[in-house]
């Protein structure tokens, strides 16, 4: 059973719908009890870092989530802002992140952009896979994924990075340390590549 954390942020139903079409059972986790039976957890997220962190802190789910992921080592996939929360801190706000991955979240430096490059990074873009991992298996390099963000994940160690994407500068778009993974793009808005990635997570 994959639990999709509902802490007030993210396209929960779109993710659940994709798993439904794959015959993978999911539940929407609103209470600590909902997390208890999960053998995998997805942490979605849209909006600003501080808002998402505040919602998570207020949801009553942070402690049970920490226990399941950090002590019981249940696999976790953070998506978009859900991935960014895994870092220590974001330049977008003042809240401390979960610090489950040694990384910072930084704002794109627009001075390095060409004149037609805007923020946020919004649209389809490609992955440059730097470490092979079951999460990224079977993906179609030519089709890419859908991104929507103005801040990017920057791992301390290159070894924790699974893939990078180029937008003015290269940034870490898929990361993994032990049971904790994160992707900056939206698999639920990325057609078959997204479905494949979500399926990979279910199969991991």
């Amino acid at each position: 059973m994959i639990a999709i954390v509902d802490y007030g942020s993210g396209n929960i139903k779109a993710i659940a719908n994709i798993y439904k079409s794959l015959n993978v059972p999911t539940c929407v986790a609103k209470t600590p009890e909902d997390l208890a039976d999960a053998d995998k957890i997805i942490l979605p997220g849209v909006g600003s870092f501080d808002q998402a962190m505040a919602h998570l802190n207020a949801s009553g789910l942070r402690e049970p989530l920490t226990r399941r992921v950090r002590e019981e080592r249940v696999p976790l996939l953070g998506i978009c802002v859900g991935m960014q929360l895994l870092a220590r801190h974001s330049e977008e706000g003042d809240c401390a992140g979960l610090a489950w991955i040694d990384a910072e979240v930084k704002r794109f430096d627009e001075r390095r952009f060409s004149h037609q490059t805007h923020l946020p990074h919004m649209g389809w873009n490609d992955l440059d896979v730097t470490r092979s991992h079951p999460l990224l298996s079977g993906l179609d390099a030519a089709s890419g994924f859908y991104f929507l963000h103005s801040y990017y994940f920057a791992c301390d160690r290159r070894a924790d990075v699974l893939a990078q994407t180029e937008y003015g500068t290269g940034f870490d778009c898929a990361v993994n340390v032990d049971n904790v993974s994160g992707v900056q793009f939206h698999p639920e808005k990325s057609h078959h590549n997204g479905v494949q990635l979500l399926k990979n997570f279910a199969d991991m």
Binding site: N11, K13, A14, N17, I18, H115, Q116, H118, L119, P120, M122, W124, A142, S143, Y146, L148, E188, K189, S190, H191, H192, G194, V195
Partner: protein, 253 residues
């Protein structure tokens, strides 16, 4: 959409039923469409609220980014629509009536999620006027003036939609797009008139980074316009962009 059914118009006039919205989204999912714009064309004229239940259903089904427009006139509606899992919200009448509304919407959900749709009609050769309420109300303003005001208000994207070319499948109206492109660097999407992938290629060759939108091209097939949802395969679509003849030297000043 009109009366909960998907329709395709010709010159914003006669409309032909195309199918059920949710079903169409499922088919566009299979075709791997880059992005979908969903417009409730009668919402403003009817004074109706957006159909949130339908929007939520579309957002849950859609495996691609979605833009919703129709009857949006205040910030709370925009917030609510984005919360349902929709990437962008399109406004037309509201943007023309009050460009400051665009600023307030942009502050609430970010510029990138605020799209202004300009429905344009040719008045005299080389001159265009923006219409609202599904092409029935003349705004008295040109797309060029509105584009400038919208850019100043922080709009994220402008869709230039040709009423004259709508449904005609004879090609886009480049004249109006040239005019708008010359006065703003806001991302543009062009709609109205595409009848073939060649038309889309011509658009990309002319403007480089631009959104190519089409209705009839992707829902009709053949001379008798039989309803058949279609879309280029990924390789075909990529070749339209990768073989683009656009160079920055061509960009209008």
């Amino acid at each position: 959409m009109r009366d909960l059914g998907l329709v395709k118009t010709v010159r914003f006039g006669a409309s032909k039923y195309v199918g059920d919205p949710v079903n169409a989204v499922r088919i566009f999912n299979e075709k791997e469409v880059d992005e979908l714009i969903f417009l409730d064309i009668d919402a403003t004229a009817k004074g109706a609220e957006p159909n949130y239940l339908l929007i939520e259903h579309l957002a849950n089904e859609s495996r691609m980014p979605l833009c919703y427009g129709g009857g949006v006139r205040n910030v709370d509606q925009v917030r609510r629509i984005v919360q349902l899992g929709v990437e962008k919200v399109a406004i037309s009448s509201a943007a023309v009536a009050d460009p400051d509304l665009v600023s307030r919407m942009a502050r609430a959900v970010g510029s990138q999620s605020v799209v202004a749709v300009l429905d344009v009609r040719r008045t005299t050769p080389g001159h265009y006027e923006v219409y609202t309420r599904n092409g029935t109300l003349a705004s008295g303003q040109s797309p060029v003036d509105l584009a400038r005001a919208l850019e100043a208000s922080g709009v994220g994207e402008i869709v230039v939609n040709s009423i004259d070319n709508d449904g005609m499948m004879q090609g886009y109206d480049f004249d109006v797009v040239d005019q708008v492109r010359a006065v703003t660097t806001v991302p543009l999407t062009v709609l109205g008139g595409a009848g073939s992938l060649q038309h889309i290629k011509q658009l990309i060759d002319r403007y480089g980074i631009v959104g190519a939108a089409a209705g009839s091209l992707f829902v009709f097939k053949g001379v008798y316009k039989a309803v058949l949802i279609n879309y280029p395969k990924p390789a075909e679509k990529r070749s339209l962009v990768q073989t683009s003849l656009f160079t920055s030297a061509q960009q209008p000043a």
